[in-house]
């Protein structure tokens, strides 16, 4: 495949990436957008059988009209010298050279291990939703939705609509915290109405606050879930458990470009949180971050940051500066939201048993790592985080359980086949 070159490369085709591409291409820039999924729209706009609608379709239509090159099923796996990335798509690898890059890789669910969570029948909350959107038939299945975060209501509403029998939504945040967030949402237009709409869509489903899943039971398949509230544990018989603990940014590509492409410049990382677009503009002119990877805040924040990054990358600075007030308001709500759905470490640790698997790739149990000082030591002793997912699941779990930082990444950031690399030649060849 011939070398690709683009003025502005957007990595990630969710709300932030699409908004960025729209802004930059509408100002005459040549833009390429890549996304790992077979369809654009990201997780929030994931469509049933890939048929986009609404805002997602509107943006994609503009991009097509503007001549934006869109490459689905394409993963950024490494950073190369001279402002290039190595991408893999359909079994082939190829470099993409860029003048500027906008990283909009979004977020993933945060998973917290509990005894039995590796049983078939246990899914992520957004995970089950994605699989149902992909065609999984859940008609008549008894489902417990659990964990924490605004996603739980949306997932429960969707699963109910698709014929699932949602028994309960077990939210770990307290009622007091949720009421406070409800009040904060009144200050952001649309947020309160959105929450009300979801509550109406989930009418008839018990919303149990201050409730934590403590175990998944079953011999070969999930049979029941233990939920603890006010010190009392009840067993709920069910077919499926959809459990996720809010979101965490996909920072791998940002880390990759920081360490391997831009020596001497730093992406300011606080825990899993990459720098905001503003910090980036200040630090250097070629790399922008937008959307959930730069702080969990929802679709409006992602659209705004994406648009802003797109304009800035296109050199339309006057326009890019006009977002401060809106950004501050959305940022404030995002902080309130993230505080509401914060996890309490002691509660989580109480649930763990020595034989609870923490790393699903390497089957490493809690008892093997609980006395380690940090992630690196645990890794060296047990192989935790060294399997196929490269710590994407157990890393954020360990951060929640032990406060361990896991911000290290080395290419390729997803496992590759030799055949995928075989067609890629270096300049020396």
């Amino acid at each position: 495949m011939a070398d690709r070159r683009t003025e502005i490369l957007v990595i990630g085709g969710g709300p932030a990436g699409l908004a960025a591409a729209e802004a930059a291409s509408s100002h005459g820039k040549q833009v390429t957008v890549i996304d790992e999924n077979p369809a654009f729209g990201g997780q929030i706009w994931r469509a049933e059988k890939s048929a986009l609608s609404g805002k997602a379709k509107q943006l994609v239509d503009v991009l097509e009209k503007n001549g934006v090159e869109m490459i689905p099923s394409c993963t950024c796996v490494a950073s190369l010298p001279d402002k290039r990335i190595l991408a893999v798509s359909n079994g082939k690898s190829f470099p993409i050279a860029y003048d500027k890059v906008i990283i909009a890789t979004g977020a993933r669910e945060r998973f917290i291990p509990v005894p039995g969570w590796t049983l078939p029948g246990v899914f992520g909350a957004g995970g089950l939703q994605a699989l149902v959107k992909g065609g999984y038939d859940i008609g008549g299945k008894r489902i417990v939705v659990a964990g924490t975060g605004p996603l739980l209501l949306a997932v429960a509403a969707y699963l109910k609509k698709k014929g699932g029998n949602v028994l309960v939504i077990a939210e770990q945040a307290s009622a007091k915290k949720l009421i406070k967030l409800g009040l904060a949402s009144l200050r952001v237009p649309g947020k309160f109405a959105e929450a009300m709409k979801l509550r109406i869509a989930t009418a008839g489903i018990r919303y149990s606050t201050g409730s934590v899943v403590t175990a998944a039971h079953g011999s070969n398949l999930l049979e029941a879930v233990a939920v603890k509230k006010n010190g009392r544990t009840s067993n709920i018989e069910c077919d499926l458990l959809a459990v996720g603990y809010h979101l965490t940014g996909n920072t791998e590509v940002a880390l990759l470009l920081d360490v391997f492409a831009l020596e001497g410049t730093v992406i300011a990382l606080e825990g899993q949180k990459a720098a905001t677009a503003e910090d980036f503009l200040y630090e250097h002119e070629d790399i922008y971050c937008a959307g959930e990877l730069a702080g969990i805040g929802g679709v409006e924040k992602s659209l705004l940051e994406g648009r802003r990054a797109g304009l800035a990358a296109a050199g339309v600075e006057g326009d890019a500066r006009g977002f401060a007030a809106e950004e501050e308001r959305l940022g404030r709500f995002a902080s309130a939201m993230n505080r509401t759905f914060e996890l309490d470490r002691d509660t989580l640790l109480e649930i763990m048993t020595d034989d609870t698997i923490v790393c699903r790739c390497e089957d490493v149990e809690f008892g093997k790592i609980k006395d380690c000082d940090n992630f690196i030591k645990a890794k060296l002793q047990t192989r935790i985080g060294m399997g196929s997912c490269q710590g994407r699941v157990c890393g954020s779990a360990c951060e929640a359980l032990f406060g361990w930082g896991t911000n290290s990444i080395r290419p390729p950031i997803v496992p590759l086949r030799v055949s995928e690399l075989a067609n890629f030649k270096t300049e020396k060849d």
Partner: protein, 82 residues
């Protein structure tokens, strides 16, 4: 989109709607071991979005493909449990 495709799961023929994601088609077929873990446990997808790698299967002879990222194609042959 109502058109049905023929796929093979572990040698057995199945029909599935066009546009279905492979992982979803496997769940519909009742597969409870997409892969076998290091210690021999059966596993199914967790994240549904290409992060956890629990859904990997062999598709048309290519091993370790994330089935949550692949739409089904007519005649596709999928092997699970590896």
């Amino acid at each position: 989109m109502s058109e049905n495709l023929k796929i093979k799961i572990d040698g057995a023929e199945h029909e599935t709607a066009a546009g279905t994601i492979v992982a979803s088609a496997l769940l519909n077929a009742g597969i409870t071991a997409f892969r076998t873990s290091v210690k021999g446990e059966p596993r199914v997808p967790l994240c549904g979005m290409g992060i956890c790698f629990e859904c990997r299967v062999t598709i048309d002879g290519v091993a370790n493909v994330r089935s949550c990222l692949e739409p089904v194609c007519d005649g596709m042959e999928i092997e699970t449990g590896g």
